[in-house]
Symmetry: C2
Subunit: 353 residues, 2 copies
Amino acid sequence: MTQISTLGEFGLIKRLTKDIELKNPETKKGVGDDCAVLSYDGEKEVLVTTDLLMEGVHFDLTYMPLKHLGYKSAIVNFSDVYAMGGTPKQITISLALGKRFSVEDMDEFYEGLRLACDEHGVDIVGGDTTSSMTGLAISITCIGECAKGQAIYRNGAKETDLICVSGDLGAAYMGLQLLEREKDVYYGQVADAKAKGKEPTDFQPDFAGKEYLLERQMKPAARRDIIQALREAGIQPTAMMDISDGLSSELMHICSQSNVGCRIYEERIPLDYQTAVMAEELNMNVTTCALNGGEDYELLFTVPIADHEKVSNMKDVKLIGHITKPELGLALITRDGNEFELKAQGWNPLKDE
Amino acid sequence: MTQISTLGEFGLIKRLTKDIELKNPETKKGVGDDCAVLSYDGEKEVLVTTDLLMEGVHFDLTYMPLKHLGYKSAIVNFSDVYAMGGTPKQITISLALGKRFSVEDMDEFYEGLRLACDEHGVDIVGGDTTSSMTGLAISITCIGECAKGQAIYRNGAKETDLICVSGDLGAAYMGLQLLEREKDVYYGQVADAKAKGKEPTDFQPDFAGKEYLLERQMKPAARRDIIQALREAGIQPTAMMDISDGLSSELMHICSQSNVGCRIYEERIPLDYQTAVMAEELNMNVTTCALNGGEDYELLFTVPIADHEKVSNMKDVKLIGHITKPELGLALITRDGNEFELKAQGWNPLKDE
């Protein structure tokens, strides 16, 4: 018997899907990118992506209000569609509910879900609602579209292409650390009060000056604006994906699928001031947080070097490096000029702790 | 705080989705049928359906081998696409795994999944694999297609239409009862042996003469053959759905969405011999089992009375009654000529026990 943790998530998926042959001519792209791509007759292609979120693994209801959870569950799927250069159009939403959830809880969840859908012009078209022996399970499938032949895959990066990132990185991960810290403080106070035979006093978590980190963790954005800006600038990225597991992990996907190497520069990795302050407080290396912290849902993409000027003029996009020959591997050039090999330590839910 | 059980599954879905407005012209049909229907330019429409299956609620791994579970998980989704008159084309499959599952377990699950996909010409195009704090959660989304304007909804049944059912009913439910009985016998023997300080002897469940019931529960069929036969016979059903929760429950959906009543005849409900024998053994009313037992995945459909001869000649299809004015309600005419009102006692996972 082989433990799943020995393969990890990507290893297991590879094993299970390695010899899947596509039977339908309409199936243009199956497993292995942000979305599957289906091509029916007509001018459009259909994009499909799906996510399964489990309580205790992907979210903690102690600090995640259900409205935010509904919002985020939808956004992370929209992000996958944008990461193909597409537009999300419909979602289905399935919920499995433990006994402790009330109808009002579900109203709240749906409120967040619908807010996200309204902001992105997406229709809720179906789903499944059932019970669970334990916690909450959420499965969302998002369907989108793009013009025929215009889907942007992970496998198109070419030598000398420029590597770009939208927004800033590491803040969502720092937001999670902050929430975990305040949760520990709260439980500490409750235990303290109990030991002294007292009622715990009202707990006020300390989030002052860290509002941006919280928002990045609790209410992430899907970067439709970047996709629109790329279109307006006339830039067609050669490869693209969204950063959900961490920059290192996503760069590895693009490089391995495109059969190229890369060289990125530490000093160019976009960071927010609050991310840096929080990393300092927690005695963590902020670059490591930006490379390996997940859930930023920013876009990582490559463009031909000829688009250098166009992409340099884009708001909220930073050039962080360039694509190289595959034999040069994945290199990080630090501020002091040293070179390190990038390793994916991105979030892996099937890894042993 | 309102308990979800006070609303039940359908009540909760109704509350959460009642004022959802569809924003995209491509979204032809949202929540409320076997599939959502999306219309892109071109000659085809896209059908989407999704299911979330939770261990301990929808399946019991004590007697359900993972290969069968993989097979059945796919089939129940194909069945929803056939129930719209469509052809399933692609699926995505998401799994959340507890620690006790091995890589070989997942191989086995995928073996069943792929067998179902091969039989129905469906491509596996993506998904998500993650961990679970407890049992196994399975989420499948199936995408299918049908010719533009040819999707068969639940809301098209008209007065005087004939009501038809494929195959036979109640056998899957009897199969489940059989499995539960043998499981109880097994646990009884184990407890007995333990009480006597002995090792339990090898257990041989007694399934003799009940093979059909087991197959209906463990390896159900999705009735593509009926859809093909309907096409060949030139019959376009006015309403259709698959029987997953029980005949009564599905008839209520068709009648309420079509704003009609119905009249079905007990003597016409198709039953297999093994179903009748098993009901007898368990001292259950076989008609009740056929009306309320779920998971048969047969097709329930209505056709104009003008198609009477065509549909009568179809293999493995039975006429069980006809559609009436809405004010006549849902009536069951028993063998002795009495009339009863049909009540949906179908399987409801959100109901209090």
